[in-house]
Each structure stands twice: as structure tokens, then as C-alpha cells.
Symmetry: none
DNA sequence: CTCGACCCTA
DNA sequence: TAGGGTCGAG
């Protein structure tokens, strides 16, 4: 038996909006430490890791660890029926093949319960090692989203290059090419508007814009995004979820095709 | 000769937005008591009844009773050309096959007149008997609209059950099921936010959500909606039109298919 | 946060 | 053409 009560229900709505286009079906894992999910996207290229810590819930009861396979589109459909300031409770029983989402309006005048069928999903749960990154960029999530959207109208891939001075996003396509440079800038009014670069080594990596654009669907969850880069490692695009945890997207860099052109 | 002058022209615009998707062609009936319409929807399942009392018009002249057959989509098209605070005058002559809509801007700087061809429509005017209902629910129209929309993403039909405590909307579909309970609540700041239940007998009836969702197009006309239910009678979904009358939608309940499962 | 207007897609 | 989403304003 488990019961998780989340006062800020809109968070869960945003989480599902953020991942439902990337992942069709996934197991949610429930343990005493929190509610989490790890899944590959449907083309098996990107990985999503979500964590909502138990401390972030108003009430968190989980008698034993278990997984629930959900169709994320159906789950998102049900969560759309919750008001933005509704309190959402997720509950279920051991061995049941359904999960219940309960929505309480702030005034308690309207109480809805939605029961969703669970599904069997076999998933390999990969351990993701904590790594040292050559560079970590923190910037406003809306700005990152805008850049990825803009560049994808020119090219399919982006080269992200980090130096001490700033981060450069470059693309190239049939109609031309583009470079967008964001300088490190910590002297802004609000800290969430800052662009901060922590760099051990300069790094320059290429990624498919298609996936980055999917990741930016998580922008409503956080004003800032953190992009962690190392050669030979998947980039991590992280959106913190206030008081609760994070949603992280992993994407392997492309091997630069430019080298083809360098060959004899 | 008739001439109806309506100061709050936006009312008429909203009325047409509310019914034009449900009914294609209909006869408007003009008499000394008011301007009214009664029509079946195009699939002959639901019925719309509109009344705009003569007292609600600034000027109302109707020499003798008559009907005008109008294509509601064309009428809506013309009314879209009126500003939201225009004064609308509807006028015509006996035996003419056209009707004229005149729009005056509040400042009188712009005066438009639109002439529309009438059409011959044979309609049986059903007398709708006033009935006693087992239960009458009054609730905010926006809330009713939201519930019907939300539930239609899960199932096709809704069971509306009324008890003294509240009204429950339930549905069931492939991906799961849902129940939304609205408690009776009269202790709100504004009377139009109240949910009020007048119940003689508990009642539970099933309706096609598709039609209810059409009915909720009338929500802009009124902050509240009244739902009158009795076994074996069509439900009445009524939106009052301030100072003027009402728009009422009638829909027969579905015979519960669950009974099939009870049979041997 | 709710409402309305506009835009866009299905 | 209708429905959903987003954006902007109250």
C-alpha cells in the first residue's frame, strides 16, 4: 500500500508534459526515499531520469519498494484533469494492476479520483555513475530553449563549445550557418537570469537538436537549466524541481562528421 | 413589420456561438412576448430551446406572430461582424424573404446593416411540458464545462448521480475510469460560485458526453448552469440569459448498458 | 490565476 | 472547421 500526497500538483502535471513526448511507457519506482523514473526514449537514444524525493511530499507512505508501469500519455491525459492548484495524491495497493490519482481542489469542494490501468514494462535500470565534467553551464532555461529552437530551423545538430568566457552554440545547414554565444554573466538582478560557467577544460561537443528540443519541454519546471559536458560522456541537461528533486536528460554526443571532410 | 433593438448585442453573438454547432437551420419565432427558437440538433438527439423575452429589448415591435427560417452558421457569420458593444437591431417586413441585422457602434460612428436570406424550414414545434424533477443542480457553468471536457478524454458517456451531499460525474474508458464529486456548497463569497442541490429523490442517469460538451458552448452566457434530472425524462441543461430569458438544452438519458451484464 | 484573443495544428 | 495551446492582460 502506498499513498503520496503532493500539495503542488502542478509539478506533476509539468513533469508529465516534459517527458510524455520522449517516452511512451515507463516504470515509476516507489521507495522510501522517493518517487522516481528512469527510461530510455522510444528511439533508445536519450535517457530520462526523474526524482521526486519523499521529503517533497506532504504525506509519503510507501510500505515496500515497487515499480508501476505506466503509459505516460494516458497518465498525462488524466493529470490534465487536475486543476493547477489541486492537491494530487497517488495511491495504490500491492499487487493491484491499477493506480489511482486523486485531485482535491483547494477548497475541497471538488474531489476527483482517476483510476488508471498499469502495464508490464521490462526495463533495465542502468546505474548512472556520478562523473566529473569538464564544463558545467548554468543558464536561464527559457534562453536555452529559445536557442535550441532557433538553431533547429537552420541545422539538425548543434556544437556546444565552452570556454571560460562563455558558451557557444553553433549549427550549419543548407541555408547557412549560425553561432550563438552566451557570455558568462553573473551580474544580473536575479540569480536565475545569470549565465554561469564552471570549467575545468574547454570542451566542444555535437548533439542532435531534435533531442535537446524535447528536453526543453521541461523548462516550465525551473527557471534555470544546467548543462554538464565532457568529451566521451553523454551531456546531462538538468532541471531542478523545487524542493523535490530533478529531471535529468542524458544524450550521447555525435561523432563529429567534419572529420570526414578532413580525410584525403 | 418587426424591429427588435437589443442594446447588449454581444448576447445575441454568444447565443449563436452556443447553438450554431448543434443546429444548422432553425426557425426563429417572433411574437409579442418575445423572440424564441426551438430546434432539434442535426442528429435529432438533442433539443435546444431559446427564449429572449420582449422586455429584454430596448425596443420591441412585432405586429403579428411569424417564423423566420435561418441558417444559423450564416447568421453567426453576420453577427461576428458586430462589435461586442454594438447595439444590434433585427428587422424585417411581412412576406419578405430576408432579415436585416443592423449594428450600431456605441458612439454611433459606425452603422452597419447586413441582410440575410431566409429559408423555408419545416419544423414541428414540440410542446415541452413543465415537469417536476427528482433533482436540480446549480453550479458554476465553467466548472460543469471543465468536468465534461475532462471526462470526455477518458470515456464517451457520463453517469450523473445526485445525492443530498453532492453530485457525482463518472465515466469509464479504455485507459481507466474517473469520478468527480462536487459537494453542495453554498458558503462561498459569490453566489455564482455556489453548488446548490435541490433533491427530492436520488437520481443517477447516463448521458453522451459529446452532447453535453456541445451544450457547454453556452457557458459565456451565464456564470451558472442548472441541470435538472429525472429518471425517464430528458435532462435539462439551462443557462439563464440575464434580464432576457434562457437557453435550454434537452438530452435523453442513455439506457444503462450495465444491465446487460446483470442478465443471466 | 483566471479570462480573453490570437494562432496554430489536426 | 473545431479544438488546444500559448500569449498577454486584468
Amino acid at each position: 500500500m502506498f499513498e503520496l500526497r503532493l500539495v503542488q500538483g502542478s509539478l506533476l502535471k509539468k513533469v508529465l508534459d516534459a517527458i510524455k513526448d520522449l517516452v511512451n511507457d515507463a516504470n515509476f519506482d516507489c521507495s522510501s526515499s522517493g518517487f522516481s523514473l528512469q527510461a530510455m526514449d522510444s528511439s533508445h537514444v536519450a535517457l530520462v531520469a526523474l526524482l521526486l524525493r519523499s521529503e517533497g511530499f506532504e504525506h509519503y507512505r510507501c510500505d515496500r519498494n515497487f515499480s508501476m508501469g505506466m503509459n505516460l500519455n494516458n497518465m498525462a491525459k488524466m493529470l490534465k484533469c487536475a486543476g493547477n492548484d489541486d492537491i494530487i495524491t497517488i495511491k495504490g495497493d500491492d499487487g493491484s494492476d491499477t493506480v489511482t490519482f486523486m485531485f482535491e481542489s483547494p477548497t475541497q469542494d471538488k474531489i476527483a479520483d482517476f483510476e488508471m490501468k498499469l502495464m508490464d514494462i521490462d526495463s533495465e535500470h542502468l546505474g548512472i555513475p556520478e562523473a566529473e565534467y569538464q564544463a558545467i553551464v548554468r543558464m536561464p532555461s527559457a534562453e536555452f530553449a529559445r536557442i535550441c529552437k532557433d538553431l533547429s530551423s537552420i541545422g539538425d545538430t548543434v556544437v556546444i563549445s565552452v570556454t571560460k568566457e562563455g558558451v557557444k552554440f553553433s549549427t550549419r545547414g543548407d541555408i547557412g550557418s549560425a553561432n550563438i554565444v552566451c557570455r558568462q554573466n553573473t551580474t544580473v538582478d536575479k540569480p536565475e537570469e545569470a549565465t554561469v560557467i564552471e570549467m575545468n577544460d574547454p570542451v566542444s561537443l555535437t548533439f542532435a537538436l531534435r533531442y535537446l528540443n524535447s528536453f526543453t519541454k521541461a523548462s516550465p519546471l525551473s527557471n534555470t537549466v544546467t548543462i554538464s559536458l565532457s568529451s566521451e560522456l553523454p551531456v546531462v541537461v538538468e532541471y531542478k524541481i523545487a524542493e523535490m528533486g530533478y529531471i535529468r536528460f542524458y544524450l550521447a554526443p555525435k561523432i563529429e562528421e567534419d572529420e570526414e571532410e578532413t580525410k584525403p
